[in-house]
């Protein structure tokens, strides 16, 4: 034990002090699964039909998060995504950083960034701006602003450009096949009938869309095919006898 000496006799001016920390058990943090912050990624071939609450259907990019989770897809042990971004971009992904988009609108509010952080009982959890955790009792539910996310995807299209005609044709074929599969079963399977009806509407939205024109490479003219005329047969090699006669003839001719 330490001897405290005379320092304890010094008096201090009275202050109001601070409010104590809430006891641990009383903090009302939601029981969220911890998750890292993220950017979004877009692949030029990955699109889907999204529906607005007013009934509008539109072909929009299917985003994936690039999570800053150490050890995941090239993210460094310190959580730096730079190497992961380079690797993804090499494979055709376009990474949307926070600063590319800036402010976003969600749940009627303007927020500075599309990635939002929430403190949970087990650590920080990150969600996009259009998903909000709501605690009811000890359960966590997600509240979603689907229309806000729809508008955000439209902004992404404005920023990066629309779907190409080739991808549009592939998406149309995919929805067409889905429609065929479900129509075949629609008369005896109510779920398939419902899917077929929804797919048909999505297909109409895809067909109504015109892909952004892209500059097509006309290629080069190929080289002319190999000449098919018969190859001339070479005369047989002169024998010694014939060669001698030819020499004698040449001498006679002078």
């Amino acid at each position: 034990m330490k001897h405290l000496g005379s320092r304890n006799l010094i008096t201090h001016a009275a202050s109001a002090g601070e409010s104590p920390d809430m006891p641990a058990a009383a903090t009302n943090l939601p029981n969220l699964l911890p998750s890292p912050a993220f950017y979004f990624m877009v692949h030029p071939t990955s699109w889907d039909v999204f529906e607005h609450s007013d009934g509008t259907r539109r072909l929009l990019p299917l985003l994936r998060p690039l999570r800053f989770a150490p050890g995941v897809d090239g993210v460094s042990a310190q959580g730096s995504p730079h190497q992961a971004i380079a690797a993804k971009e090499r494979r055709g992904w376009i990474v949307i950083r926070w600063e590319h988009i800036g402010e976003v609108e969600a749940f009627g509010e303007v927020l500075p960034c599309f990635c939002r952080k929430y403190n949970g009982r087990r650590g920080a959890a990150h969600y996009d701006a259009w998903s909000r955790p709501v605690t009811v009792g000890n359960q966590v539910y997600m509240k979603r602003d689907g229309d806000g996310y729809f508008r955000f995807l439209e902004r992404v299209v404005d920023l990066l450009g629309d779907v190409s005609p080739e991808v549009l044709a592939a998406v149309e074929a995919k929805f067409g096949q889905r429609l065929n599969r479900n129509e075949q079963k629609a008369d005896h399977n109510p779920a398939a009938a419902r899917r077929a009806a929804k797919t048909e509407k999505s297909l109409e939205a895809v067909r109504a869309k015109h892909g952004a024109p892209v500059e097509l490479d006309a290629g080069e003219s190929p080289a002319a095919p190999v000449d098919l005329e018969p190859v001339p047969v070479e005369s047989p090699r002169p024998t010694r006898k014939r060669a001698r006669k030819r020499v004698e003839a040449a001498v006679d001719a002078g």
Partner: protein, 306 residues
């Protein structure tokens, strides 16, 4: 009759409540995807010189067809060798519990001890493996299903067709959120036909661990709560892939005389640390792990409504 001995009258001899002598596990996702043959084991990072490794891929063994030669004197031109690579980074995953001496002293359940926590940390490492795979797996460019639609047999076939059309070799592994799995089972009720789901029997469930649901058309079905949300929490990012799509790399913490090892199972190390001044014991688990998509074309995500 008088002076009967009743429970209500012996308050000094009984307690209001006592602990049951066995603790039951709380509900949690305990699915492990480790050792599934669809995941490529890229070995250990030890002595590699970096925590980051480039995994090379090469277009050989049938990648290039032979060219037809137009004439007998036509020279055979050289074919460019196709190569690609992906980057995998190993990061340390850790978990620590600290127990005070007093807590261990009064522990009536015999759970506050190093070996019990070492076993628990091992299971946590297995779940962490599944979490890392789930975070990688929803990054495939190809997609099946459509947003806000429940996962069903049709989506599953769309995913299978994508892999078959891309000539992806097996074995296949499908990782589903439990909600998507039950949606799929529900849709199976309305399907009739020639295909049969081979549900995991009791012995198979023991062998393959929790989460393994069975096989269907040669593809293993596993449910995991680690599957992540997509499209602003409208969908689950389920995924299916064949061997060669996802690779993992691990590391081993090198042995040291100062480590009190409670458990060492391959790359997983659990050690004990005593803080004499703080009068506590810590049990600390280490698991160096990294995972990455090796070849994007070998997998597809399968959307299922949340």
């Amino acid at each position: 009759m008088a002076n009967e001995i009743r429970y209500t009258g012996i308050g000094d001899l009984t307690l209001a409540e006592v602990l049951h002598k066995e603790a039951l596990l709380l509900l949690a996702d305990r699915t492990s995807l480790r050792n599934h043959p669809a995941i490529v084991d890229l070995g250990m990072i030890n002595a590699a010189g970096s925590t980051v490794e480039q995994v090379p891929q090469i277009g050989l063994d049938g990648y290039d067809n032979m060219a037809t030669l137009a004439g007998e004197s036509t020279a055979i031109s050289n074919t460019a060798l196709t190569d690609a690579s992906s980057t995998i980074t190993v990061a340390e995953q850790g978990l620590a519990y600290e127990m005070s001496d007093v807590a261990r002293m009064v522990d009536a359940l015999s759970v506050l001890n190093g070996p019990r926590f070492a076993a628990s940390i091992f299971r946590s490492a297995m779940v962490t493996f599944s979490e890392v795979i789930a975070k990688v797996g929803d990054g495939f460019a190809a997609s099946a299903g459509t947003t806000t639609e429940a996962y069903d047999v049709d989506v599953m076939f769309e995913g299978n067709f994508a892999l078959e059309q891309a000539l992806v070799p097996g074995p296949y592994l499908r990782v589903l959120k439990p909600k998507s799995y039950t949606d799929w089972v529900d849709s199976m009720r309305a399907e009739g036909g020639w295909v049969q789901f081979q549900a995991a029997g009791a012995s198979m469930a023991v062998l393959r661990g929790p989460g393994f649901k069975g096989s269907f058309l040669g593809c293993d079905f596993v449910t995991s709560d680690q599957v992540q949300g997509l499209n602003s929490s409208a969908d689950w990012g389920n995924f299916v892939f064949g061997r060669g799509a996802i690779g993992v790399k691990e590391g081993v913490v090198p042995p040291s005389r100062s480590i009190i090892e409670l458990l060492r199972a391959g790359p997983i190390l659990v050690e004990e640390e005593r803080d004499a001044k703080g009068r506590s014991v810590s049990v600390v688990g280490h698991y160096p792990l990294g995972a990455a998509i090796i070849e994007d074309a070998r997998g597809t995500i399968e959307l299922g409504a949340q």
